[in-house]
């Protein structure tokens, strides 16, 4: 073999020769995500990892996201089988204080109302399916709808069970909109409430005893076991984490769940989700449709949450500020912070944060329940 042909072989294996346009665009997309995370602080924990995963996945020749590449291994290890989102949920459970919700259980309903966006987006996806250049099956539509739950792990879990080929765009849409909550929600809140309503003050929440906090996760899981076993992986993981937090005797487990474990899993999950952003599957009309539907789901969920809060304010004895309805779209704790900020703009003496945490954590339960419904119903409808 002469030097010339050896050089030729080497040249053929460089990145420059093997690049496709799609890969180049996806690497730029990954860089944009990293930029948004660093410069704008949008969900940095996820955008840095997903963005870097997207760059690695689109490197020619190296095959990092292939079955034998390290991102591919992360992917089969915990995304394809739905393991990582459940581990994250344990950590979320250990970080969640259900206290504000237990003090005012009515707010659970706001968490339910905000899930209307999920089902509206599901219908929207089926409508888009009628367009000639987009095709979504019912299970695709269900996975897209769950973006409206504003809950990254839930969205990834449902998608991994129902339509794994859409995982990249759906995870990206879910996490991007979660980070855009401070931009998306305030205009919607202002559009659907009057100044007077936004100024409503709420009574201080009562003290919640430790025993209540210990019994709640068990009671919620029991209800789930009886009515909706398909939601028990998500709710079970969440409630396990929460019990570890509240029972007070397994401090070490609780600390591991909310720090070490969730951080480790976030690294694996972020990189593996990024690895699904390969040019071939990501650059399509379907992705555009998913991004649009996700935004619609979010907006509708915010709206229905507010509308129910308005009705509850009329009906119930104590006053309820409709702004907290917007926090019903999980996205903990961002949505609650946004609600509290909008409230304070109208009335600087108004502290809504704890009141908004109620619907906010209820939203996590609500989207997990909605996920359970989809997982129970969609496979049957697809089969029948």
């Amino acid at each position: 073999m002469n030097i010339g042909s050896a050089f030729q072989e080497f040249w053929n294996s460089t990145g420059i020769v093997n690049f496709t346009w799609g890969q180049f665009i996806m690497i730029i997309v990954g860089l944009i995500m990293i930029y948004l995370a660093i410069a704008k602080k949008y969900e940095p924990l996820l955008l840095v990892t997903i963005g870097f995963g997207a760059i690695l996945a689109n490197i020619p020749v190296a095959e990092i996201s292939g079955p034998d590449g390290f991102l591919g291994i992360f992917y089969t290890m915990g995304i394809a089988n739905g393991l990582f989102p459940l581990l994250i949920f344990m950590g979320v459970g250990a970080m969640t204080d259900f206290g504000p919700m237990l003090a005012n259980p009515k707010t659970l309903l706001l968490g339910a109302a905000a899930q209307v966006g999920i089902f509206a987006a599901l219908l929207g996806a089926l409508v888009l399916d009628m367009l000639p250049w987009i095709s979504f099956s019912l299970s695709d539509a269900a996975s897209i709808g769950i973006i409206g739950g504003a809950d990254g792990p839930t969205a990834i879990y449902v998608t991994s069970q129902l339509s794994i080929h859409l995982l990249g765009p759906i995870a990206v849409a879910a996490y991007s909109y979660m980070s855009l909550v401070p931009i998306i929600q305030p205009p919607i809140i202002r559009a659907f409430t009057t100044k007077k309503e936004r100024m409503i003050k709420m009574e201080q929440l009562r003290h919640v005893t430790q025993l209540e906090k210990i019994l709640f996760p068990i009671a919620a899981l029991a209800l789930c076991i009886i009515l909706l076993p398909t939601a028990t992986p998500l709710i079970g993981a969440l409630m396990f984490g929460n019990l570890a937090r509240e029972c007070g005797v397994v401090e070490r487990i609780s600390n591991t769940l909310q720090n070490a474990l969730i951080n480790i899993v976030t690294i694996f999950l972020g990189l593996a989700v990024g690895s699904r952003m390969e040019a071939a599957s990501f650059l399509s009309f379907e992705t555009l449709g998913i991004l649009a539907l996700g935004l619609a789901a979010f907006a509708i969920g915010t709206m229905t949450g507010i509308l129910l809060a308005k009705i509850m304010n009329k009906v119930s004895r104590e006053s309820i500020n409709p702004i907290i309805g917007a926090a019903g779209v999980s996205a903990v704790p961002m949505a609650a912070r946004v609600a509290s900020k909008v409230g304070q703009e109208e009335n600087p003496q108004n502290f809504l944060l704890m009141h908004a945490m109620g619907p906010n954590v209820a939203g996590v339960l609500g989207s997990a329940v909605a996920a359970g419904v989809l997982l129970a119903v969609v496979p049957i409808m697809m089969g029948g």
Partner: protein, 65 residues
């Protein structure tokens, strides 16, 4: 869609009822007795702070001399 929304609502309404029942039972039969215990430590903490401040002042005065 209607099925989905209504199942979510029914589930959470039941959860509201269960939660209320739970709180009622817990507060009624197992009230927490922690309020009186919470006060004294705060008081001693303040006293300790004062003692430490006095000690620091004394030490400072002593070293200055």
């Amino acid at each position: 869609m209607l099925i989905g929304v209504s199942v979510v609502f029914v589930f959470l309404i039941l959860l509201v009822i269960i939660t209320k029942l739970l709180s009622y039972v817990v507060l009624r039969y197992f009230p927490e007795k922690e309020k009186p215990a919470a006060r004294p430590p705060a008081a001693t903490a303040g006293k300790q702070d004062a003692e430490i401040a006095a000690a620091i002042a004394a030490a400072a005065a002593y070293t200055k001399r």
